[in-house]
Every structure is written in C-alpha cells, then in structure tokens.
C-alpha cells in the first residue's frame, strides 16, 4: 500500500473550468484549451504513487505546475478534479475540520523562502504547529526544543528569523515542519533560495536525516542535479503534465520523450552513477595460502601487476604486487601470506562516481568495492572513472547483481 496516491489530479485556473475539463478529456493540450476557453491549466491529470519512506522529487521548470501540484496535496490549492489519498483516506473530499486534522498531524510543509514568522522567535516558530493544536505550552516547548536540538539550532531559540543566515533559517523551517512529527513532508523548492555550497550541505543533511526518520518526502525542485541527488524517484513535469516517473538512472538511460532527453543531456553523470555502475570484475583473485608459483602464473596469464587476496570466507585481505611475489618465489617460500599489503582503498557500492575521483587520484592500486560482509563486489581502476566522466555509462549494459555473481564465481574457481 502506498503512502500517498494521486489520481487524475487536475487544476484549472480561470473561468469556464467545466468546459476546460471536457476539453482535457478530449485530449486537447494546454495551449489549445487556453485559446478556446481562456482557462489556464495548472496541473493536468497527474497520477502517481509515493511509497512510505521515499524521497519523491517532482521536477520541472517554472510554470510546469509543480508548485501547484504540491499545494494540492494539502489543499492549499483546491483541486479542480481528481483524488488524493493518504493512507487510503481521500483528502480531496474532506471537510474543513478533517482536513485541518490531516494538516496538523500528517502532513507538513517547508517553503522556498522559509515562511518563518518574522514576529516570532525561533522557538515560537518551531512550536507553531503544536500551538495551533492546543497542546499546552510546556509540552509544545519541549517538543520544539527537541526538534531544534536535532537541527543543532537550540542555542538560537530566542533569536528572531532575520538574525539568522538563509541556511539556518531553512533548518528552522525544517525543524518546524518536523516538530509535530508528520508522516509526510512537502518541500517546495526548499533549498532553491540558498547559495550553492549551503544548498549542497542541506541536501546531504536531508539525506542523512532521512536515514533515521524515514518520512515520506515530496521534494519540489527545478534543478535536475538536485533531483538526482535526492530523489529515490523523480517525476518530471512539463506544461502541467507529469511526463515521466522513474529513478534518476532510469530517466537518464531511457528518457520518455525528446523534452526529457534534451533536459538530461547536459547532466553530469558522475553525480548520478555510483561505484557499482562503473566497477568491473577483477580478472583473478588469490587465496592467502596460495603458493607464490601459482600466483605468479595467474598474474602472468592475466597480465596483472598486482592481485587481490581474499580469505576462505571470500573477505578482502589486501593485495600483493608481482614484484614481491617474484621475490618470494626466488626465496622459495611456502605461501604469500607474509607479503600481503593491507593498504587497499575500499568503498561501498553506493558511493557516487563524483566522490571516487579523489580516492582514485591518491592510489596506485585498484579501488575495491566491498559489501557489508567485506566481500568483493568489484574493482575500479582509474580508466573506469575517466570513462564514466567522458562518455557516460551505458546503464542498460550494467546489471550490478549479475556482476556480483560473476565475481563470486571467479573466487570460487580460484
């Protein structure tokens, strides 16, 4: 069961709404309807589901209807037609009182220009949502202070919004929205008014927070990079219509139409793809008790200058260089366990390619991608990263699961 579901949600501004609705059913587009009726289509028959705990990004340029769409979710803007379900309760037919309860308990909003009340202190702002519910002062202050504490803002609680920087004000906006512990968080261009560095920090913080709080977040933005960074899934809007819904990688790999294609052309793919998309399987692995002669043979066959060494449980131990193994072989040692170099850069499969650059610069050995059990998923060498940067990644060509399987077989074979 999805947390939030919308069906054929439509908003028409202006007169002759009924006529415009009929024209939509006939399949007329925004411009034709404007010409015949004078009515403007804000959002046209939007339909999608959002799962619990998901960050769902709605992306579009200005005028695409994304802000209208998000405001219909808590009915700051009344939908002209269509349905909105939260936990299978139909929001769109609720009376004022029931709607107010939903707004108080289930759904909070964060605004582009923060929407903080200038005449209230940070604490008073944060407790607003609890105050209107009639919760007594002591308790609501306690909750608000906890929310501020989480955001690291408690020392500022008695200041006024205009005494804080933009980034801090938006942290207050977020703390205020979280203070009444809603299930759903609507974030309308929440980071768009911040300068790029602060913005990036805020994105990181949101991702970090989301790991523990697990809210359902609807995030509106006009910035594709932001969508790709934050979104578990992305809905792209144009002229009031949702033109594509999918993960960032799906949208980059298979744009639904020319509009989306043009849109994603210039995107920096290193900020979308992760280690598991560009890793390759190591040509061969060695066990720790292997004889130097065998290791040397494998390395020669595969033309390798170094080889990764794993233990019996297939966990990464380190690597040995060809030079060292040759040396060992000349001395007639039994196995290679003594010369294992443990200094191998290890990263997790979901690290962004963008973040791998630094690591790859500082190391001569391949970077090893390991999973939580320290098992090797694949390796990345410098040429993989450069390749990803220049040509992009053929998404279709890569299947992480398949890759992992092959690697394991390789190890078993050894």
């Amino acid at each position: 069961m999805s947390k939030l579901r919308i069906e054929n949600l439509t908003k028409i501004f202006g007169n002759k709404q009924k006529e415009a609705l009929d024209l939509i059913d006939e399949g007329k587009n925004k411009r034709e309807i404007l010409e015949t009726t004078g009515a403007t289509i804000g959002v046209k028959q939007a339909t999608f589901d959002v799962e619990e705990g998901e960050i769902f990004v709605i992306m579009g340029l200005s005028g695409s209807g994304k802000s209208t769409l998000v405001r219909m979710l808590n009915r700051l803007i009344e939908p002209t037609s269509g349905n909105i379900y939260i936990d299978e309760d139909n929001i769109s037919v609720m009376d004022t009182k029931a709607l107010r309860e939903v707004r108080r308990k289930k759904i909070s909003m964060v605004f582009q220009n923060f929407g903080l009340f200038p005449h209230r202190t940070i604490l008073e702002n944060t407790e607003y949502g609890l105050e209107v519910q009639g919760i007594d002062k002591k308790e609501r202050q306690k909750n608000a202070e906890a929310a501020l504490e989480n955001a690291g803002l408690l020392p500022y609680k008695d200041q006024y919004p205009d005494q804080l920087s933009g980034g801090m004000q938006q942290r207050v906006g977020l703390a205020r929205a979280l203070a009444n512990d809603p299930d759903i968080l609507l974030m309308d261009e929440a980071f768009s008014a911040l300068d790029p560095l602060i913005r990036r920090d805020m994105q990181d913080e949101l991702i970090e927070m989301q790991k523990t709080m697990n809210k359902t977040i609807i995030f509106i933005t006009h910035d594709l990079n932001e969508s790709l960074r934050l979104g578990d899934r992305i809905a792209i809007m144009r002229d009031g219509e949702v033109v594509q819904v999918g993960t960032g990688q799906e949208i980059l790999a298979n744009p639904a139409n020319d509009y989306v294609k043009r849109f994603v052309e210039d995107i920096d793919r290193t900020k979308v793809y992760t280690a598991e998309h560009i890793m390759e399987k190591p040509a061969a692995l060695s066990g720790e008790r292997e004889k130097p002669a065998n290791v040397l043979r494998i390395m020669k066959e595969n033309n390798m200058s170094n080889i990764l060494v794993v233990d019996k449980e297939e966990r990464l131990l380190g690597y040995v260089t060809r030079e060292d193994v040759e040396h060992l072989y000349e001395k007639g040692h039994e196995n290679i366990s003594k010369i294992i170099n443990k200094d191998v850069p290890e990263i997790e499969p979901d690290v962004l390619v963008d973040d791998i650059f630094d690591v790859v610069h500082e190391t001569e050995t391949p970077i090893v991608i390991t999973n939580e059990q320290s098992e090797i998923e694949g390796i990345i060498v410098r040429s993989n990263v450069i390749g990803a940067m220049t040509t992009g990644v053929q998404y279709d060509a890569i299947d992480p699961d398949q890759k992992a399987k092959e690697t394991k077989e390789e190890i078993n074979h050894e």
């Binding site: 405001r71 808590n74 700051l76 107010r100 309860e101 939903v102 707004r103 108080r104 308990k105 759904i107 909070s108 909003m109 605004f111 582009q112 220009n113 923060f114 929407g115 903080l116 009340f117 200038p118 005449h119 607003y128 949502g129 105050e131 209107v132 519910q133 009444n180 609507l186």
Partner: protein, 284 residues
C-alpha cells in the same frame, strides 16, 4: 438637444434625502437620545478628569513619555514641553483638554469600528467591493455636509462633533487594515494554513501581527483626521480649541485666530510624532 434634456423632470434627490434623514431621526430618536446623553456625560467626565491633572504635572508626564518613546532623544520631549507651555501660557489649557477628549473618543470609536471592517474587507472580496465606494464617498463628501444630519440626530454639542469626526476619520483605518492584511506575504499565510490553523488562529497569530505596522500607520492617520475635524465640529457646538478659531474667524480677530490655530498645530505635531515613534519602536 438641450430641449430634449429639459423634458426630463428634476429628480427629487434633495427631498428624498431630507425625508430619509427625518425618518431616521424620528424612528431612532430613542437611540440617538440615549447615545447623546451617555456620550455627553462620558466626555464631560473625561474632560474634567483630564483637567484634574495640574498642567505642570501633565507637561512633565508628556515630556517623560516622549523621551522614552522617541529612543531617548531630546528633540521631541523638548518640543512637546515648549509647545504645551505655550498652550498653557495662552490660557488655552481647558480648550485643549476638550479637544483632546474629542480626538481620543472619535479615534477610539473609529478604531473599534474600523479594524474589524478592514479585516472583513481583507477576508472577503465581496465586502471589499461594497465597502470601498462607501469609504470613497465618506472621504470626498465635504465634511460640513455631515454636520447637518449630525445636528438633527444629536442636537448640538460634543456628541454630534464626535459623530462627524468618526465619519471623517474612519476611512483610513479601514483601508490600512485591509491593506496591511492583504500585504502579509503569501508564504506566511500558506505556512499558517499548512499547519492546520483555524481562521481565527491565522488572523491573531500571523496576519494581525504582521499587518501591525501598517495598521498603526492607519491609526496615526485616523487620529490626525479626527484632529483636523476639530474646527468643523466646533461649528455645531463641540467645545475646544476649534471654538476659539471659529470665534476669531467670525469676529475677524487675526491674532486670536493665530494663537488658537497654532495651538492646534502644536497638538497635532506632538500626537503625530508620539504615535509614529511608538509604532517605529514596536517594529524594532
């Protein structure tokens, strides 16, 4: 063509208005009489209490208030002190207190009626469409015209003076309240709504506090307009500085007219600066 227009009979507008006012006077006389009695008693009471304060104490009090309200600067308290001493010196103290009573009562009534009306206008576009032309009418119709029904409703004295002043001073507070609330940033209103505020909660916790400085500017305008009605109101027997000005006018006494007129100017400046400073302080 002109002969064609001559065929139209003259509409009995004047007659109609006269009849209407007469009808109102007759049928609501109980209300007007009661208002007049209570109002006169109250205002006489208020003036006599204001008169109980010795002028020196009153002047010192105003100086102290001016000092603290105006950011502890000396300009305003100095001016207020000199100005009030001048009024006392010219034997206009009692008249000033009558004028002050008239201004305070007229302003308070205007505010009490005006702010809710302004809120209503801000909340309902239909109310705005209805009230807007009435306000225009009230502000552009020459003030003397109000005096006539005021006299037929309330006779002569303080109460009809207040009535005429309220009609004259009401529009700015209504307009400024409406403007102030409509100017509250959309995002703040949305924020209030998105947290599930009721209409009243939104009004009290978000809209009025954010519209406050605009509303206070309206209060300032209202008070000054009430003050500017003082001379006009004196024509229907409202006591105060206006009476002196009117008498001087009727007798052609330039000097006496200037003395009382200048006292009104002094009073206006003190009230205006005090209100402005108070409003500014609040904003900071």
């Amino acid at each position: 063509m002109s002969s064609l227009l001559d065929l139209l009979p003259q509409l009995p507008v004047s007659h109609g208005v006269t009849k209407l006012i007469e009808w109102i006077t007759v049928h609501f006389s109980f209300l007007f009489d009661a208002l007049e009695n209570v109002g006169t008693k109250f205002m006489e009471f208020m003036t006599s209490y204001l008169m109980l304060i010795p002028p020196l104490i009153f002047i010192l009090l105003v100086i102290v208030i001016a000092y603290f309200v105006n950011d502890r600067r000396y300009g305003l308290p100095f001016f207020a002190g000199i100005g009030l001493l001048y009024i006392q010196n010219q034997n206009l103290w009692g008249n000033m207190m009558n004028t002050l009573t008239l201004i305070i009562v007229a302003s308070l009534i205007s505010i009490v009626i005006g702010i809710p009306l302004g809120i209503l206008m801000a909340k309902s576009s239909i109310a705005q469409k209805i009230i807007q032309p009435i306000l225009d009418f009230m502000q552009t119709m020459p003030a003397f015209v109000y005096l006539i029904p005021a006299v037929s409703f309330f006779g002569i004295g303080m109460v009809p003076g207040v009535f005429a002043s309220v009609i004259f001073a009401l529009p700015p507070i209504v307009r400024f309240t409406n403007l102030g609330i409509r100017q509250v940033p959309e995002e703040l209103v949305e924020a209030a709504d998105s947290f599930g505020s009721t209409g009243w909660q939104k009004l009290y916790k978000v809209e009025l506090p954010n519209a406050q400085s605009t509303i206070m500017a309206g209060v300032n305008q209202t008070v000054l307009l009430a003050l500017s009605m003082v001379v006009t109101a004196s024509m229907i027997g409202a006591p105060g500085l206006g009476t002196n000005v009117l008498t001087a006018l009727q007798r052609g006494q330039v000097g006496s007219g200037f003395v009382s007129g200048f006292a009104l100017v002094v009073l206006a400046i003190i009230i205006d600066r005090l209100l402005q400073s108070a409003n500014k302080n609040h904003r900071e």
